[in-house]
């Protein structure tokens, strides 16, 4: 009994000393990548942070992207908040409105040579409110058309980049080319993002053509799906799916990355899949429409959680991660929102899979693009939209009526 007591006392003392005397801090940082190259870069940021804070280590915690927002929410609700982490664009307004994100403005203003004004204004829309900064975008990745050059050659067609150079890459041409590709090669002309356009990627499917036509899905708390521009754009898509049969239809699978479709829409991070694809390929801007050029951008930001215990230190680390140098270093994976990096040659040459002239497409789209729509009630809005959009994707659907139904369903939530 005595020895037990003794042992316990020493253990408790030892533990107490360990936590007290060293003064070392560990920042817990949640991310959704497990990619080794990404982790190496992130660990590099943690290492260089030691110049100022030799005792601080950063522990990156990977949560798979599909569960990310959900698991993060549980960590916050369960009193186990990480200090900082990545945040997806569709979660940003919800999290900011719930008051779980810390204001980074003081830390960013204090950081030497940070130059917050260098960030492109449109890219900050989701992450700022007045003087407050709830997050710093680390990836501002526009949607581009990935095309299978072999299939274009087989069909004897000019590829999207050639058409874009002649100023002919518009929605009408896109429809025409898709049909010709289907007829000539037997493969699908176009596939929505990751083949999920009718399920989890409804927004990614409808949004670019609606914006190209000069409309929007919603703006100023007003639903835009039933406006004439949106109706016309969706009617065209509907025709492509059911009349031309050039877009992979609902319930069908047509994997672009294995050569099943001639074109798809995605972000440049997917270029990492291309070396294995076994065909010649390229990226091109989104086709223009009546509304002119209207690139669409997907975003992710770095945030600090209010419930974290080392907020100031975490904010300082976020400032460190997003300095000009570090943003430039990250640009090969995550297109930057800093104008100085975006305009540099270093950026267009940063991706060894994509030639510089095609990376210019990306840089162009970032400076001109608009981010995907996000909303405090994004999950509810998507759930309300889903059944009405399902009804839209039937061969005999009345497109206009279906889009009216979408608006009826989501207007109360906007």
């Amino acid at each position: 009994m005595k020895t037990t007591m003794k042992r316990m006392t020493t253990t408790v003392l030892a533990l107490g000393m360990m936590s007290g005397s060293l003064g070392a801090a560990e920042l817990r940082f949640t991310i959704w990548t497990g990619n080794e190259a990404h982790l190496k870069m992130l660990n590099g940021f943690a290492e260089s942070f030691k110049a100022k804070h030799p005792d601080v280590t950063v522990k990156y915690e990977t949560i798979p992207p599909g569960d990310y927002t959900q698991k993060l929410t549980f960590q916050l609700a369960g009193g186990n908040a990480p200090d900082a982490g990545w945040l997806m664009e569709d979660a940003a307004p919800t999290f900011a409105a719930a008051g779980v994100l810390d204001n980074l403005a003081p830390a960013l203003n204090k950081a030497q040579g940070y130059d917050f004004a260098d960030f492109s204004k449109p890219a900050l829309g989701l992450w700022t409110a007045g003087d407050k900064v709830y997050g710093v975008p680390f990836s501002t990745s526009p949607f581009v058309i990935f095309y299978n050059k072999d299939l274009f050659d087989k069909a004897g067609l000019e590829d999207p980049n050639a058409l874009a150079a002649k100023g002919q890459w518009n929605m009408a041409k896109f429809q025409e080319v898709s049909k010709k590709l289907k007829d000539a090669t037997g493969k699908w002309g176009f596939e929505f993002k990751d083949g999920q356009g009718y399920d989890t990627r409804i927004m990614h499917a409808l949004m670019p053509p609606i914006r190209a036509a000069g409309g929007d899905v919603w703006a100023n708390k007003q639903c835009g799906f039933d406006k004439p521009e949106a109706v016309a754009a969706v009617k065209q898509l509907h025709d492509m799916v059911f009349k031309d049969k050039s877009i992979v239809p609902p319930g069908e699978q047509g994997d672009y990355f294995s050569g099943g479709s001639a074109m798809t829409i995605n972000q440049i991070s997917r270029a990492s899949l291309m070396p294995k694809a076994g065909f010649k390929w390229g990226i091109a801007p989104l086709p223009t429409g009546a509304g002119g050029e209207s690139p669409v951008i997907g975003q992710a930001g770095i945030v600090v959680f209010s419930a974290g215990k080392q907020k100031e230190l975490a904010a300082e680390f976020v400032a460190h991660m997003t300095t000009k140098d570090n943003v430039a270093a990250a640009a090969q994976f995550f297109p930057p929102a800093r104008k100085s990096v975006l305009d540099s040659d270093a950026f267009t040459k940063s991706n060894n899979l994509i030639p510089p002239e095609q990376m210019k497409v990306v840089a162009d789209a970032i400076s001109k693009g608009k981010v995907l729509p996000a909303h405090e009630k994004s999950p509810q809005i998507l759930a309300a939209m889903k059944p009405r959009v399902d009804a839209l994707w039937r061969a005999n659907a009345d497109v206009e009526a279906s889009l009216k139904a979408v608006c009826t369903a989501i207007q109360p939530l906007l």
């Binding site: 929410t73 549980f74 008051g99 319930g251 759930a383």
Partner: protein, 308 residues
């Protein structure tokens, strides 16, 4: 000289002479079951009571704000939310479709495979294999087979001149598809239960009936079927409960769509709680599901008691 040893030294020393044997035994019993009991209380009863409490609050998980709203969540679900009744309707259709089909198929397979013949084990394994297959893999394969035009099922149908529907994109067909694929996945479990019950029935009964001139159907109807009664009841109860709780299959196959055609109660609860973070409302729905399943179970038990 062993008899000379004092008895007290060999017997166990009494630590607590004031305890009677009965009390001591009771105490020991409680101590033995305490690890399980603690787990049961902490991980089962605790959350169950918590859910009742949560269901009376409006609690947003993200903002961590909880306000007591009494029975508002319940009245909202039952009287004001049109989706709720649609969801209940879907759950009932799913159960009505799944339970009889599953049981009939399980019994037929069991009757065919309860005997002893060459290769019987292989057949049993084949029908049981889906039960232990990963639900995700199962859903992916079926989604592939059930594609609109390029799908294997529809190509087979086309070869005999039938124009198959776009299974997972039309609400009614999607419901039929999730029911049938779920039955094929889970039927093996009930088949094993039926096989065990069939093998427990002494063969003499059937032999005696045959001597009396009973036909195969008569033997089944008047001897086997009544003797399978208790097993049938168990299978019916667990299959019904399982069908009301179905989540993973729906999540993987249709995500509740198309047009909410397969939005069942468990999936709806998941949506409210884990997508909208509205834990109070989700808890109220979970309580409603609990009551529904309990009532169904009691109803089946009463029905069975009346039968016997």
């Amino acid at each position: 000289m062993a008899g000379a040893l004092p008895i007290r030294d060999t017997a166990r020393r009494e630590d607590a002479p004031w305890l009677t044997l009965k009390m001591r035994e009771a105490m020991e019993a409680w101590l033995f079951i305490s690890p399980t009991l603690a787990g049961f209380l902490i991980f089962f009863v605790g959350p169950l009571i918590a859910v009742v409490w949560y269901s009376l609050t409006e609690w947003n998980l993200l903002t961590q704000q909880a306000t007591f709203v009494g029975l508002d969540n319940y009245s909202d679900a039952l009287f004001r939310n049109p989706d709720f009744w649609h969801v209940i309707r879907n759950s009932v259709i799913f159960a009505i479709g799944l339970v009889p089909l599953n049981m009939a198929l399980a019994l037929s397979l069991a009757l065919a495979l309860s005997g002893r013949f060459a290769g019987v084990v292989i057949f049993r394994t084949v029908f049981f294999a889906p039960v232990v297959t990963s639900a995700v893999a199962w859903a992916i394969v079926w989604k592939f087979l059930l594609q609109g035009e390029a799908g294997f099922i529809n190509q087979m149908l086309a070869s005999i001149g039938i124009d198959g529907p776009n299974w997972l994109r039309e609400p009614n067909w999607a419901m039929a598809a999730v029911i049938v694929t779920r039955v094929i996945k889970m039927v093996g479990l009930n088949m094993i239960l039926y096989i065990a019950a069939l093998q427990a029935i002494p063969r003499d009964y059937a032999a005696a009936a045959r001597l009396e001139g009973a036909s195969g159907w008569q033997i089944f109807r008047w001897i086997i079927w009544p003797l399978l009664g208790p097993t049938t009841l168990v299978i019916m109860v667990i299959t019904t409960i399982g069908s009301f709780k179905v989540f993973d299959h729906i999540y993987q196959m249709t995500g509740g769509g198309p047009e909410n055609g397969t939005l069942v109660l468990a999936f709806y609860i998941y949506q409210q709680g884990f997508q909208f973070f509205d834990v109070g409302y989700a808890s109220a729905l979970a309580m409603i599901m609990f009551v529904v399943v309990m009532m169904l179970t009691i109803f089946q038990l009463v029905l069975r008691r009346r039968d016997t």
